[in-house]
Structure formats: C-alpha cells, structure tokens
C-alpha cells in the first residue's frame, strides 16, 4: 500500500504539471491582454501603464516562454500578482480567502454526508414507501435546479418574506460576519444550506442505490439467518459495504467545495475563493485566475488519490501490491 501511494504521488505530480501547461495555454489564448490594451483608450491606459503591463505579463515573449517563466516562479511559491487587489501577491490574497471557503466547505461537506447517508439508508430500507417516493421527488428537484436558484430563493424567503411576516431576520442574507460565534453561524447558515441542498440530493441518490444493492445481497440474508437484530444487519453488515462506492463521490464533492463554490459564494457575496475566481475573470486579472485553476487541479488530483487509498482501507478485497 505504501509503495502504491508513493507511486501514485509521483504520477500525480506529473499529472499536475500537464494540467498547469494546459490551463496556462488556455488562459493565455482566451484573454490576450495585448488585445485588451489595444482597445483600451489612451486616456485610461497611458504609455507608462502599457509598458508596465507588457513587462508584467511578459507580452513580448511567446506563450511557451511565458509558461516556463511562470512555472519557475510557481514552484518557488510565487503565483503572480493580483492586480485588482492592491497589486499584492496572489498567494497572500488566496491565503486570506481560503479559510473563508473552508468555513463554508467543511460544514457543508460533513452535514451533507451525514444527511445523505441517513436518507439513503432510509430510502433503501423503505423502498417505494411514501417517504422514499417523497425523497425521490425532492432529489430530482434538487439535482435539476441550478444552485443560484436555491440561493436566491433562500435569500428572498429569509430576507424579504420572513421579515415581512415576523419582523425579524434570523440569518444574514449576504456577506461574511464574525462579530461573535453566533454572528458567524448566522452568516454561514444560508450559503451552507444552499450548498447542501444540491449535494444532499445527489449523494442520497448514490447512497440509496448503493444500499439497495447491498441489502438484496446474500450475505445480508446470512446475517439475518444468524438471528442478528435488523438494526445490526443494516448498520453493521449492510452500511459498511454500501459506503465503499460513496468514497469516490465524497472525494470529488469535497474537492469541488474546497476549490470554492463559484455560484454560491457569488450569490451570497462570500469572500472565499469561488467568488474571487469569478471576480478575477470579469476583471481580466490573469494571475489569480491561473492560480485558482491550478489550485483546483491540485485539490482534485489529491482527493482522487485519497479516495483510491481509502478504497484499500475500507475494502479488504482491494490491495495495491
């Protein structure tokens, strides 16, 4: 297992390098600052500004040359400059924003996983019951509707309607507030709920399918034939098997949340990585865009690796030798 993990780590690094090359190439050709400068009126972009930009983005060099230079800086921990953020280093800005994304991602991930497993088990054990059918309907709505819709819906409900009915506003509708702990929880509630709605819908479907397959297997009948109480049959014998395929889903979902939920953070004006990504794109701020994409790639590769290693831990049949 150790040898496998080390081998996978090496190939992950190679994969990441390939990823950066692709992302750098795409970023460079999709938003050429040279062309942008050409359309910028001289009143706004003077000669001094132009030469500064050309020097900063090395626009006088070819894309491969720029990539090599970017890579050289990147491996030393320099991911460039956030031009629209006081020309501070990108790493510094990301360092401020990452904890806020984590604040959203971790509770959303943990609560989603717990609720999805609980709903999946319930649906599988009570297949085709009223409750299961209701959850199926809920899941399809959750999977089909876009995230921003739920975000806006929650904002309208708690920020407008609830206030009209009761005169109170229990949750912050936008922004990050941390005067005290309750303040923080209040500002976290709606964005976390938005992230969860969609993920719970998807994950509970996987949980249900996985659990159903296990429940109808013969070793579950063996467990019942031993005289085990149903609680132990379901939560010990069945669940342990049903969770194995969910590991991949969790790893990918968590990687997605960690790299910032662009839509949710933007809707709730949450100062995390996701909203910063969208802002940097609209501002043609290239270095942060590049940095966040590379970060996303690294996180995704890392969690895929973690998922594969977890497989070996959870399923005795899987051995990487």
């Amino acid at each position: 297992m150790l040898a496998y993990t080390v081998r996978r780590l090496f190939s992950s690094v190679v994969l990441l390098f390939i990823g950066t090359a692709v992302v750098f190439g795409l970023t460079s050709i999709s938003s050429n600052p040279e062309l942008l400068l050409a359309t910028c009126p001289p009143t706004r972009c003077g000669a001094e500004f132009r030469s500064e930009m050309i020097q900063m983005y090395q626009l006088d060099k070819t894309i491969p040359e720029r990539y090599v230079s970017w890579l050289g800086d990147a491996v030393q921990g320099d991911l460039g400059t956030a031009v629209r953020d006081g020309r501070r280093p990108v790493t510094e800005v990301l360092g401020e924003r990452l904890p806020k994304t984590l604040l959203l991602a971790i509770p959303a991930f943990v609560l989603t996983a717990l609720i999805a497993v609980a709903l999946g088990v319930y649906s599988a054990v009570r297949q085709y019951s009223v409750g299961d059918n209701a959850l199926t309907a809920f899941s399809f709505i959750g999977i089909s509707m876009p995230t921003f819709f739920f975000g806006l819906l929650l904002q309208v409900f708690w920020g407008v309607w609830w206030q009209e009915w009761t005169g109170t506003r229990p949750f912050y509708v936008t922004g990050y507030h941390n005067a005290d702990f309750m303040d923080l929880v209040s500002s976290l509630t709606l964005p976390v709920a938005t992230l969860m709605l969609v993920s719970v819908a998807g994950e509970s479907r996987f949980g249900r399918a996985s659990m159903l397959e296990v429940i109808n297997s013969e070793y579950i009948r063996t467990a019942r034939a031993k005289g085990l109480p149903e609680r132990k049959v379901i939560f010990h014998h069945a669940l342990r098997n049903a969770l194995i395929p969910l590991v991949t889903i969790w790893a990918l979902d968590f990687a997605l949340l960690l790299s910032g939920s662009v839509i949710t953070e933007t809707v709730f004006a949450w100062p995390g990585i996701g909203s910063y990504f969208l802002r940097s794109i609209t501002n043609y701020d290239l270095d942060p865009v590049m940095a966040i994409m590379v970060f996303t790639a690294a996180i995704t590769i890392m969690f895929n690796l973690i998922a594969d290693v977890m497989y070996g831990v959870l399923d005795p049949r899987v051995r990487y030798d």
């Binding site: 297997s217 070793y219 009948r221 467990a223 019942r224 034939a225 005289g227 342990r240």
Partner: protein
C-alpha cells in the same frame, strides 16, 4: 413414537407481482424427526428454497405465507421477529447455496463466526474466538489459527462453504437447513463438503433438511425424501422407497436422468420432456400431466391427493401408482 422436531402443515407461499400472483408453494406438509435427515428434491422453481426461507421468516415482504410450521412446540409462521431471532442461528441454522456471496466480504471469517456465537451465548470475545478456531478445525480447514483472521476472498470456494458450515453448527442447532450446499462448488470438492456436512450433523446431533436437485447427494445423506414439483410434494418416503419402490412418474423421470457409471456408451439419458409449469397458470388437473407418459383422462380432472403406497409412510401424488410400479420393475435403472 417421538414428536416431530419440525411439523409443517399446509404451508403456502404466494408472491405478489405485476403479472399476477405467483404461488411458489401450494399446501406443503411434512415432518422432520429429531436427528433425521430429510432431503427435499426437485427442479429449479419447484419451491424447495422458498419453503425453507418461509420457515425461517426470511422471505421478502412481498411474500404472503399461510399455514403452520411448529418447531419444538413453537409456531414459526407469523411469529414476531423478536421470537424468530432467538431461534434463527441458535435452534435452526442455515447453510446457503453460494458461499462466494453468502459471506460478508468486509469482515473476517472469524469475526462472522464469533458474531454468531456471542449473539446467542454469554461468552467472552476471547473464548468465542477460540471456539471459532476450534470450529474451523472441526470442518477441516488447515491452519485454522491463521485462517480465522482471513477475509472470505482469501478462502477458496470449498473453504468458504466449510466456514459456512462451521458458522451454522456454532450454536449446536437442533435443525440444520442446507439449501443446495454443494451446487455452487467444483465437482471434485462436492464430496468433501458433503462429508463435512455429515460430520457436522453427527457432531451436533441436529436434524437436517437438505435441499438439493442432486439425487446422488440424496442417496449419500438422506433418511427420507420429499420430491417436490410445482410447489407441492409429489412423492414422500424412505430413501429405499424413493430409489427402489418409486411410485410417482415425476420421481421416475428424475431417476432416469441420472448418468450411470456402468451404462454402455450407446445408452442415452432419458430426460423428462417439456418444461416445469408456469406457476401463475398451472395446467388443469395434475400439474405434471403435460409431461407425463402415464397420463390418462382421469389426470385432466382434479389434482390427485398425496396417497399412501402400500399403507406405509410412503406416499405419492398420482392416479397411476400401480402402473408406475410396474414400469419401475421392468426397467434397469
């Protein structure tokens, strides 16, 4: 005469499905005496397994079960789950057909046996593990001390079935139900596993219901035989009754389809023509009539009862017992 350990009376099982109700077992009645081996023989879909699952209360919710199954003075059909759980694994233990899928892949063999032991006995974990190792030794698993800690996928098929048998005999049950215990195994190890089952039965003194379609297995193990067809018993009797004094055309057909070692190469097996009936639409009269060479006008009327042959415990569901006996005497099978 001693009281039967298990007495099944008029057991019926119906599955509801979108294409209509399917009656898999139609009014089964049989007794199992303490220590006795009863073989239940029949083709796929004749209701053998469903009968045993119904007795254990292990059928899915879509199954409707009626009738009675008295085990050791307790009614099993319709008993609440709490009472059934005390009997399952303790008084009645099961061995399933496919050892590849009947053991939980994520737990060690040892822990699955230990679970069965500690569930019904007040025993420390350490003692239970020792007992599990002892049981593996008893069923002929070499190096049981090491193998008790292995996972099912690290066992061969034959070893897994041995482990299943060890698990089934862990609580010295009064009744073992073995559902096609050798069907999924290589022919070369079927005999070994049967030997282990015989040993397990002898050690525990348990009675056994042996479900199989293999008449060779029956001949080697059983005291009595129930031949099933279309969800009902067609012939019931001692092993000699079934093999040497066959009184039912279906049993005769089964016997005719066994290969014989001493047969000449030119001799052909005699298959039973046709296919088992659709349980949703049984033919009028005797369900075996469309495939039966003895069938006459009377077989179209109503289904024959299970009738006594020569007044003994040997019984057969057929209007033409005499003709079958004549044909039996004339054949060389």
């Amino acid at each position: 005469m001693t009281a039967p350990l298990l007495s099944v009376k008029d057991l019926s099982v119906t599955f509801r499905s979108d294409d209509g109700d399917l009656t898999a077992v139609r009014g089964m009645s049989f007794d199992v005496m303490p220590g006795e081996v009863l073989a239940v023989v029949g083709e796929s879909g004749s209701g053998k397994s469903v009968t045993s699952l119904a007795i254990m209360g292990l059928l899915p919710r879509s199954a409707r079960v009626s009738g009675s199954a008295m085990f050791d003075g307790r009614e099993l059909i319709g008993a609440d789950l709490k009472q059934l759980r005390k009997i399952r694994g303790k008084d009645i233990a099961m061995i399933f057909q496919d050892p590849m899928t009947a053991l939980n892949p994520v737990f060690t063999i040892g822990s699955q046996i230990v679970e069965a032991i500690t569930l019904h006995n007040d025993m420390s974990d350490k003692a239970a593990w020792e007992r599990a190792t002892e049981l593996l030794n008893l069923v002929g698993i070499p190096d049981p001390k090491r193998r008790v800690k292995l996972y099912p996928h690290e066992y061969s098929g034959g070893m897994r079935q041995r482990a299943m048998i060890a698990m089934a005999m862990a609580n010295e049950p009064k009744l073992l139900i073995a559902d096609e215990p050798t069907t999924a195994l290589d022919v070369t190890i079927q005999a070994q596993v049967l030997q282990v089952i015989r040993k397990a039965q002898a050690v525990t003194g348990a009675a056994m219901v042996l479900i199989t379609h293999d008449l060779g297995v029956v001949a080697g193990l059983a005291d009595r035989v129930n031949v099933m067809y279309a969800g009902a018993v067609f012939e019931s009797g001692d092993i000699d009754d079934i093999f040497y004094r066959t009184a039912n055309p279906y049993t005769l057909g089964l016997l005719g389809s066994i290969p014989i070692l001493t047969a000449r190469v030119s001799d052909k097996l005699t298959p039973i023509p046709g296919a088992p009936p659709n349980l949703r639409r049984l033919p009028e009269g005797c369900p075996f009539r469309p495939r039966c060479v003895f069938a006459t006008e009377v077989c179209h009327g109503s289904e024959p009862d299970l009738m006594a042959v020569n007044g003994g415990r040997h019984r057969s569901r057929c209007y033409h017992i005499d003709k079958v006996a004549e044909a039996r005497a004339g054949s060389t099978v």
